[in-house]
């Protein structure tokens, strides 16, 4: 695994390398190099199994983190390629030409995070939702509780407790 990381570092500009396990690494790369790096990993280093593509919303920094998890089937190695893109008008290059199922992940990201992947097949079709006209729901500025209370006729009488305070009150009422 170490030599693969060294190979990558020679060819690409890697900003951060995290060793999670001895066979699982996460590396950060700039947005413009990402698809190149994924292609390199697939074709040269034989990380031929694409596991997942997902996004993490870092709203504090105004960024989305995209993670491409790749797997080396024979050497049993995992590598996660992280890249950070701007939160406003988020767009990313599509990787649907590398694996057939990447398009599905990109369709979901387009719908749930509003990250556009121009050129990806059927990317504009709704995937999970139907008739959604709010901001993409997985963005952290979308308040699901408020939306639910306004839309779905909550049954009165439901109270919410913070578990820590509730247990404290229940177990040690005098403290």
């Amino acid at each position: 695994m170490k030599e693969i990381i060294n190979n990558i570092q020679e060819k690409f500009k890697i900003s951060e390398v995290t060793e999670q396990r001895e066979n699982q690494y996460f590396i950060s790369v700039e947005k413009k190099d990402t698809i190149q790096l994924v292609t390199y990993l697939k074709d040269i280093e034989k990380f031929t199994n694409f596991i997942l593509l997902t996004a993490v919303d870092w709203i504090e920094k105004g960024q989305f983190q995209l993670t491409y998890m790749l797997n080396h089937p024979s050497k049993k190695l995992d590598i996660g390629v992280r890249t950070f893109i701007e939160r406003e008008n988020a767009t990313m290059d599509s990787a649907h030409h590398l694996w057939e199922h990447v398009a599905t992940f990109q369709r979901e990201l387009k719908e749930m995070f509003g990250i556009d992947f121009p050129g990806s097949p059927r990317v504009d079709e709704p995937f999970l939702l139907e008739g959604w006209d709010n901001i993409p729901p997985m963005r952290r500025d979308f308040d699901t509780k408020k939306y639910s209370e306004e839309t779905y006729f909550p049954r009165p009488g439901r109270s919410t407790n913070d578990p820590a305070e509730h247990m404290k009150k229940k177990l040690y009422p005098n403290e």
């Binding site: 995290t18 999670q20 396990r21 066979n23 699982q24 996460f26 031929t48 199994n49 694409f50 596991i51 997942l52 997902t54 993490v56 919303d57 983190q65 993670t67 998890m69 089937p73 049993k76 995992d78 996660g80 694996w99 057939e100 199922h101 398009a103 599905t104 709704p126 995937f127 999970l128 939702l129 139907e130 729901p137 997985m138 952290r140 979308f142 699901t144 509780k145 578990p163 820590a164 247990m167």
Partner: protein, 390 residues
């Protein structure tokens, strides 16, 4: 002499924009699901058919979308557990295992030996009950409902054992970060062994009823073939990959829990059709029963079953990200977990095998197949909609 294959050149084809011309009155569009007995769970296929041949298929999911990954923004780590099991209904224990394993890895907790064995036991029981339902259901898709009756009865007996051990029939929430919730009750092993003897008989009778049945073979051999080149192209995992001749099993490739101390060899086939995938899962029942017996024999008698953890009510899991995986009955089942060091998880993302099997792979496989084979194809991939849409 009577053998006849359709002349596909005479079939209507898609126009240059990839769309079919429905004004030609040669095509029918039908919706296979969500209210359809031949669909696994609540999903639907939008089919363009000409006669009995499928020309185009589009998978529509989202009927079970609950927005789990959004809800976890509002729940503490321990509050995630009651909902995380509901991500995949037929086999819920992989979810709890993956989440607790991910938290333990991020927090650097080593679980005790006893907990490892108990988790392995529960995961294998879970696999067994899922297989007892789905293997006869493969017969059900081609009209053999009898095996389903027998199989679901045995599955109920396994669920009884679950109830005894964890208190729940379908959702158990038995594994928690640091270990498990309790030890085996008295006499549990004997009662499980009694059930396993029944399963042994069932395995033989389902072979006679289904796998040796001439009509079943006629319906399944050579249908829904998956070439071996598709394995990486479509991200195929689990028994579907094993059906195509590629031995993919997380239990062997990335041994977790006590699997490195167990002796097993999952079945493999190169036919890669519905019959082969049924045969492999039928073999998986035998493997699982054998594994359960091994686990019960090798398990320590007593021991600590939970490692000390911080107070879960305000547990701040250290910052980091991890991908954990386990082998469910459908294949590799992975969680991608990101923690930002706060009380709430930043992101928990599930990648189930059906995510590719039921969407990109199924759409491709159904083209030029017969509409009679759709249900059998779906069950042979063991698609499970809740894990696609969460």
């Amino acid at each position: 002499m009577f053998h006849w294959t359709p002349d596909r050149s005479a079939f209507p084809t898609a126009g240059p924009d990839g769309k079919f011309d429905f004004d030609s009155h040669k095509l029918v569009k039908i919706w296979h699901g969500p209210n359809h007995p031949g669909v696994t769970g609540n999903m639907s296929l939008e089919l363009t058919i000409s006669g009995d041949e499928v020309l185009e298929s589009k998978t529509h999911v989202g009927y079970l979308h609950r927005g789990f990954e959004k809800l976890y923004e509002r729940r503490t780590w321990i509050q995630c557990f009651p909902t995380v099991v509901r991500m995949c209904v037929p086999e819920s224990d992989s979810n709890e295992y993956n989440l607790s394993a991910g938290i333990e890895e991020l927090a650097g907790i080593e679980i005790p030996e006893m907990a490892k064995w108990l988790r392995t036991l529960v995961l294998e029981m879970s696999r067994l009950q899922a297989l007892l339902r789905i293997v006869p259901a493969q017969g059900g898709t081609v009209g053999l409902g009898l095996g389903v009756q027998w199989g679901v009865y045995l599955r109920d007996l396994i669920l009884d054992r679950f109830e005894e051990l964890t208190g729940g029939r379908i959702y158990h929430m038995y594994m928690i970060p640091g270990g498990v919730r309790g030890l085996l009750p008295d006499g549990f092993k004997e009662r499980l062994e009694e059930n396993l003897i029944l399963v042994d008989e069932f395995v033989l009778s389902i072979k006679r009823l289904m796998l040796d049945n001439a009509v079943f073979k006629k319906r399944t051999v050579g249908i829904a073939h998956i070439p071996v080149e598709w394995i990486d192209k479509y991200g195929i995992v689990g028994f579907v990959a094993r059906g195509a001749g590629v031995k993919k099993d997380v239990r062997l490739d990335y041994p977790y829990l006590a699997y490195d101390q167990l002796d097993f060899d999952p079945a493999i086939s190169t036919d890669s059709d519905i019959y082969a995938r049924t045969w492999i899962r039928w073999n998986d029942i035998i493997t699982t029963v054998d594994l359960l017996r091994q686990i019960m024999a090798k398990m320590p008698k007593k021991g600590e079953f939970k490692a000390p953890t911080p107070n879960v009510l305000h547990w701040q899991v250290p910052k980091g990200e991890v991908y954990v995986r386990s082998e469910s009955s459908r294949g590799e089942y992975g969680f991608y977990i990101v923690s930002d060091g706060s009380k709430y998880p930043r992101r928990i993302n599930l990648r189930g095998p059906s995510y590719t099997h039921a969407v990109s792979l199924l759409e491709k496989m159904l083209v030029n197949s017969n509409i009679s084979d759709i249900a059998a194809t779906m069950v042979s991939l063991q698609t499970c909609p809740p894990e696609i849409e969460r």
